[in-house]
Every structure is written in structure tokens, then in C-alpha cells.
């Protein structure tokens, strides 16, 4: 019988890489309070930065479900850190799709890994969705929270119903670019060391 069930070791791997991805993402997010353009740059920078741990994670995936569980964990963490529940279904959906794509390539083919990582990266864009769906409320909240009017003007000019599709697409493209960057880093450091 082929071993298709996830084992304890796989769960621990998922946990470790989720923690790593979250730390990278959170460190970058802290910069967002300087200028609204930084918030926009999340869509480009976070997929690329997170690609480094993600590509190492991909080398450890052999079974279906690991990416799905990771997306569930990310959704939970995003909820707890105050990103709202609106983006959660999308995060989990892209996790499942990314998992299916990677599965098609047998978790080994580089081409499907790249596309799968691009799709998975859309989770970063999911965090913008509360901004669009509840734009007016969100703006009021931010002004109340002490953000300046300028900040909000720029932010909402950039993030609205028209640009959200573009932002999601941007996440995908930079996810693909990130996959190449991450692969190069993994090859440079980890394959030599025999970890990947």
C-alpha cells in the first residue's frame, strides 16, 4: 500500500514552516505604518520574501494536504492577529488549489511548484479584502485609530474594488517570481548542505 496519509513528522514540518512564513510576513508588515505605499508593496514583497522558506517547504512536501493545512493555519493566525474573517475562505481556497496543482506535478516537478506557489501567494492579497468590502467603516476606524487623513486618502485611492483583482494578480505574479528566487536560494544554500 502506498503511504498517502500524513504522519506526525509532516505535521511538525507544517507547523515549523508556518511559523517561519508568519515571522517573515509579520516583520515586513511592521513597516506598513510608515507609508501607505508600503502597504501596497506587501503584494509584491511578501510573496518574494516568503518564497524562501516556502520553497524549502516545497522540497519536503510529498503528500496531499500539507499545503491545505498550512493555509488553514495561516487563516487562523490572520484572524487572531486581527485581519478579519472575510479573507479566510479565500486563503483556504487558494491553499487547496495550490495543493492540487502541486499534486498534479507529483510534488516534484518544478513547473507545477512554481505555479502552485504563485497561487498560494494569493493569500497575501486576501488580507486586503476587508479594506475593500468594508471600505467606509475601515476608513473611519483608521482615522479614529489615529492614522492621518493623507494616509487614508492614498491608501484608499490605491486599494478599492477596481484594483483588488490587480492586487491579487500581482500577488500571483510575484509569487511566481518569488518561486524562482526562493529556488535559487534553496539551491545555493540548502542543497549543498544536504538538507533539501
Amino acid at each position: 500500500m502506498k503511504e498517502n496519509k500524513l504522519k506526525a513528522k509532516d505535521f511538525i514540518t507544517i507547523g515549523i514552516f508556518t511559523a517561519l512564513v508568519f515571522v517573515v510576513e509579520f516583520a515586513y508588515m511592521m513597516l506598513g505604518f510608515i507609508h501607505p505605499y508600503v502597504i501596497l508593496s506587501y503584494a509584491a514583497a511578501i510573496p518574494v520574501l516568503c518564497a524562501i522558506p516556502m520553497m524549502l517547504f516545497y522540497t519536503k512536501i510529498e503528500k496531499f494536504g500539507m499545503l491545505t493545512i498550512m493555509s488553514v493555519l495561516i487563516a487562523i493566525i490572520m484572524f487572531v492577529t486581527g485581519m478579519g474573517w472575510i479573507g479566510a475562505p479565500l486563503i483556504i481556497a487558494v491553499g487547496v488549489i495550490a495543493d492540487l496543482i502541486a499534486k498534479k506535478g507529483g510534488y516534484k516537478s518544478f513547473k507545477s511548484t512554481v505555479i502552485s506557489h504563485g497561487v498560494f501567494s494569493i493569500w497575501v492579497g486576501a488580507n486586503y479584502i476587508p479594506l475593500v468590502v468594508t471600505a467606509d467603516d475601515y476608513r473611519k476606524d483608521m482615522v479614529d485609530a489615529g492614522f492621518s487623513d493623507d494616509y487614508c486618502n492614498i491608501l484608499f485611492k490605491a486599494v478599492n474594488g477596481k484594483t483588488i483583482a490587480l492586487i491579487l494578480l500581482c500577488c500571483f505574479i510575484f509569487g511566481v517570481i518569488g518561486a524562482f528566487v526562493g529556488k535559487a536560494v534553496v539551491r545555493k544554500h540548502f542543497e549543498k548542505a544536504g538538507i533539501a
Binding site: 506526525a8 505535521f11 511538525i12 507547523g15 515549523i16 505604518f33 493555519l73 473611519k140 489615529g146 540548502f190
Partner: protein, 234 residues
């Protein structure tokens, strides 16, 4: 006297309720009061568990951010410095309650109790094991990062020098290396202790919901409902 110990499920419920509350901003005085109360409860619980230093640190930090945010900053503020202050007060005042609760829950829950609570809630093993690892792993990453930083400084590679890409490379890659190794050790240790064995897991420390758990849950449920209602009433 026995220390006050809440059931992990109560702590999860607290995190859930507080995440809902911090997501919406407080407009009315009633909401402000609710927010302060739900922030005060975890701080109080921390002192009861003997974590005085952390409790005081969180209380002071939160109070400072709260006062700054409500009395010194407005929509008219601009400029880089005020943007920075705004940002940090925003983070602190907005997310601190959730962070405090999460910190409290993580630091005071034994992984054993967490696992049996998850099992009682019928969460699939995969999610609960992974989540437990994530919870335990943040302090480890921080520790590893600090040691790597020290090692880098000893060799004269400081934060400011060099290109941005190098800065990321010199920090992220070693952290990933040590995390992967720790992960391997962790799974070896866990598997020898029977994690993932195909039988129902038992626990020496039986968890159950006591009166104090129900009280806490009711307090938080009522606060959340009131908080949401207050927003709609206006």
C-alpha cells in the same frame, strides 16, 4: 492554595472573542469600557499565575498607547515622526489586547492540555499538532535569531552594513537552517513518545470545564455581544 487554572478551551474562547472585539474600533464610551475590561482580564489572570513582570509591562505599554492615541493624535496629524508614533500606537492599542491574551494563553497552557482540549473539540489531529508546533515555535525562532545575531556581530557583520539582500540572506538562511534541524529533533522526540500513534490519546491531567471557566466565557460572550450591539445602536 491551588493556582487558578483555566481550561484551554476557555482561553481559546477568550482569544476568539477578543479578536472580534479588536477588529472593530471603539466609538462610544461603552465600547471603550468594554475594551478596557477585556484587556484587563488577561492582565489580571497573568498576575494570578505569578507572571508579574509581564503583566506590569503589558499594562504600562497599553495604557501609554491608549492615552497617546486618544488625547494627542487626530486625523490632522502628518509628517514622518507623527506617522511613526501613530503607527506604533495604532498597533499597540489595536492589537495589544489580542496579543496579551494570546501571550497569556500560550505561556500558561501546557502542550498536553492543549492537545487534549483540541481532541475534546474534535479538531483533526493534523490541525492541532501543527498549531501546537506553531505556538511553541515562536519563542524558539526568537532565541535562534538572537544567537545568530550575536554570532554575526562577533564576526563584524552588523545590521546596517552591506546590501539589503545580504542582510536578509545572512539572517534568514541561518534561522531556517536551525529551524529545520530543531524540527527533525522535535519530530524524533515526539514520535518516540507516541505522537501520531493510531490510538486515542489519553492524558494524565484530565481537563474539564469548571465554574470559573463558564463564568469567564459568559463574561466574554456578553462583552462581545454588547460591543457589537453598541456599534449598531450608535
Amino acid at each position: 492554595m491551588r493556582k487558578l487554572e483555566l481550561d484551554p478551551r476557555t482561553k481559546l474562547f477568550m482569544i476568539f472573542a477578543i479578536s472580534l472585539i479588536v477588529m472593530v474600533n471603539a466609538y462610544t464610551p461603552l465600547q471603550m469600557v468594554i475594551r478596557i475590561i477585556v484587556t484587563a482580564i488577561p492582565i489580571l489572570l497573568m498576575t494570578l499565575e505569578g507572571k508579574y513582570a509581564a503583566a506590569i509591562r503589558f499594562a504600562v505599554l497599553y495604557a501609554a498607547a491608549f492615552i497617546l492615541q486618544n488625547y494627542y493624535l487626530s486625523a490632522g496629524s502628518s509628517g514622518l515622526l507623527s506617522a511613526l508614533i501613530t503607527g506604533y500606537c495604532g498597533i499597540v492599542a489595536q492589537f495589544m489586547p489580542a496579543m496579551i491574551t494570546a501571550w497569556y494563553a500560550i505561556r500558561t497552557t501546557k502542550i498536553n492540555d492543549f492537545m487534549s482540549a483540541m481532541q475534546k473539540m474534535h479538531v483533526p489531529d493534523g490541525v492541532s499538532i501543527s498549531l501546537a508546533v506553531v505556538m511553541r515555535f515562536f519563542p524558539t525562532i526568537k532565541e535562534e535569531y538572537e544567537s545568530i545575531n550575536d554570532a554575526m556581530r562577533m564576526r563584524g557583520i552588523s545590521m546596517g552594513g552591506g546590501k539589503v539582500t545580504k542582510m536578509i540572506e545572512y539572517r534568514l538562511i541561518p534561522v531556517m537552517f536551525s529551524c529545520v534541524n530543531i524540527g527533525d529533533e522535535l519530530s524524533a522526540a515526539a514520535v518516540t513518545r507516541g505522537l501520531g500513534a493510531p490510538i486515542k490519546r489519553t492524558s494524565a491531567n484530565e481537563i474539564k470545564l469548571r465554574a470559573i471557566d463558564y463564568t469567564t466565557m459568559v463574561v466574554f460572550a456578553v462583552s462581545t455581544v454588547l460591543f457589537m450591539a453598541a456599534k449598531n445602536i450608535g
